[in-house]
Amino acid sequence: MNRLSPQKQTENGNNKSLHKAINHHQSIVSMSHEKISLNAVLNPTDGADVLGGINLDPIRITPPGRWPSLHLQELWDYRDLLWILAWRDIKVRYKQTALGAAWAVLQPLLTMVVFSLIFGRVAQLPSEGIPYPIFTFSALLPWQLFAHAMLESGNSLVSNQQLITKIYFPRLLIPFGTLMSGLMDFAIAFGVLLVMMLVYQIPIRWTVLTMPGFIFLAVLTALAVGIWLSALNVEYRDVRYTIPFLTQFWMFATPVAYSSTIVPQNLLWLYSLNPMAGVVEGFRWALLGNESFSLPYFLLSTGMVVVLFFTGLAYFHRMEDSFADNI
């Protein structure tokens, strides 16, 4: 072994040369005779360029700072990983199920049937003159996205702990990526809703044009809760057990199964502090034009979403540095 050392040192200075690299490869690592590894030396792909530009700025690793920054550029650089994590979740989601992706349609449909029977027929809850199944389904759309974010994103960091302790990437990708499979379900359920609106002959109104805005708000709300819960769950595993109850409770605090017209007028401001109240009311207004939609309360609700989202980001970034140690 010692025999090799001097040779290695002479090569050290010139190892940028391809020719030398091959020599080096053949002489020093004589045990390797594989064609493949030689090929890799002969055709060095311009890795750094392919990989999104040579990073000339040094990466500075320091103790955790007081003020975390958002690193938006970095999130963007890692967008491929975001897609692939989302793709993995979607791909794995309905593996080894008999019905497969039909679950994405069945879940909201079955919930709608149950709600229509219990709340619509038996309890006779008012639905502002809209057919009850449509009334509740339009709310179930954003609600299920939100519930998905609570459950899946909430547990996402912990269930990906193998990744977190072994590799670096912006941790936000994990709750973000998990949300994608929820968005997929959302898109499918949205198709179902459009079919149902045709069946019930609901007229299409101009307010439908505002839908993208409300969808964005729904996604933002789901993200906000997802990042809050996922980061909290790393530190306090109680979160995992709290989520099912929280989801149930939150749903009854949101006008999914009933209309917000039954909420006493003097309590509406309190009711609107629920970020999801605004999202659901907005969906109904855009799709069905219900009258209970009121702009001030909607804005209050939206304000809560924004607060929740930015405090969530701040908390996440504060905890992020110690995820690998605490998880």
Binding site: N2, N12, N15, K20, A21, H24, V29, K166, Y236
Partner: protein, 413 residues
Amino acid sequence: MSDIAIHVEGLSKQYRLGQREPYKSLRDVIMRAAKKPLGWLGNDSTSGGKHEEEYFWALNDISFEVKRGEAIGIIGRNGAGKSTLLKILSRITKPTQGTADIYGRVGSLLEVGTGFHPELTGRENIYLNGAILGMRRHEIAHKFDEIVDFSGVEKYLDMPVKRYSSGMYVRLAFAVAAHLEPEILLVDEVLAVGDAEFQKKCLGKMGAVAGEGRTVLYVSHNMTSILNLCQRSILINSGSILMEESSDKVIDYYLEKQQTTNTFSRTSNKDPNQQEIHFSNLSIDPINPKTGNPIDFIVEVRCSKDIISSDHHEIAIGLLNTQDSKILQIHSKHMNRDFQLKKEITKVRVSLDNLPLSPGNYHVNLWLGSGSFTIDYLQNCFSFTVDPGFFVVNQYVENLGYPVLVKSNWELM
């Protein structure tokens, strides 16, 4: 462009002891908050002292520099801080103090197959794992055939990896990792998996990477591979740099030191003096045992109890390899033996006629108890090197990757 790839200055990392409580629950936080005012009223100095003890420095004031295109080996015993250093440099965890500047794209390989999903097929896992390791999608597509070729599992590409044999799994995982092309590569003992032939193939690939002028930081217990790949090595001991020299010098020093320091050390965070019965020493005879040759373990137990316990105690010696895999257990119960402890020191000799371990480094766990009740348990309290030896007369045993050897009878039927 400067020729420095990594510049590390005063890097330190503090961890909490007490792995038993890896996560907090809200209840604990509330309890602690409730206790705090009481603790403050009580004996403050003792609680403060305890607080100090709960922490230890995994890395303590590490500084070094790596030049562009250099391959550096990192050597040290288990728990010396090698992995912590790589974790900080690959940004998985933050240092407690100090800084590290990294000039270039970092690829880290702390484990093969990070993020592999058992339900996905080999093909899908190549894309998934590649992306996790930091490759862009078109880059993976570009190298896909090469990766498949290297792994040698092309027949099973469309099978979920949960049906793969562990060997196939590792091959595929390493093949992806081997095609990562960062400017700086951090590798932690990942070559220790797989069969000998595949290990050689991997080492060849690593050599190629180093030869291409990329910077490599390589942690391994395999001194031969370090000598082959790295011009310079850093020896780390208890979180500090002990030596930084050419690889052959560092390895010589390390092996020599390891042979002379295979002494017993209590790494348990419990204070031995608090325990009435505890292990106080372990030694082996000879100091450099050889494969297939006799070896004696001499275990010493200290008992400070005044009353002589009539309990019968069992002793177990566990041997682990450098990857912390449990290899061999030597248990008094298996031989239907137990011991009554004497006051002060009890010495027990355990003899093996033929050490059934192939050459390499091993470390020792010690257990003392009766039945399922544990009195003292020490992990990694001793380590030793098994040198090549004759298992049967004239049959020199080489390390072929299988750690355990047994005597066997062969006859033609």
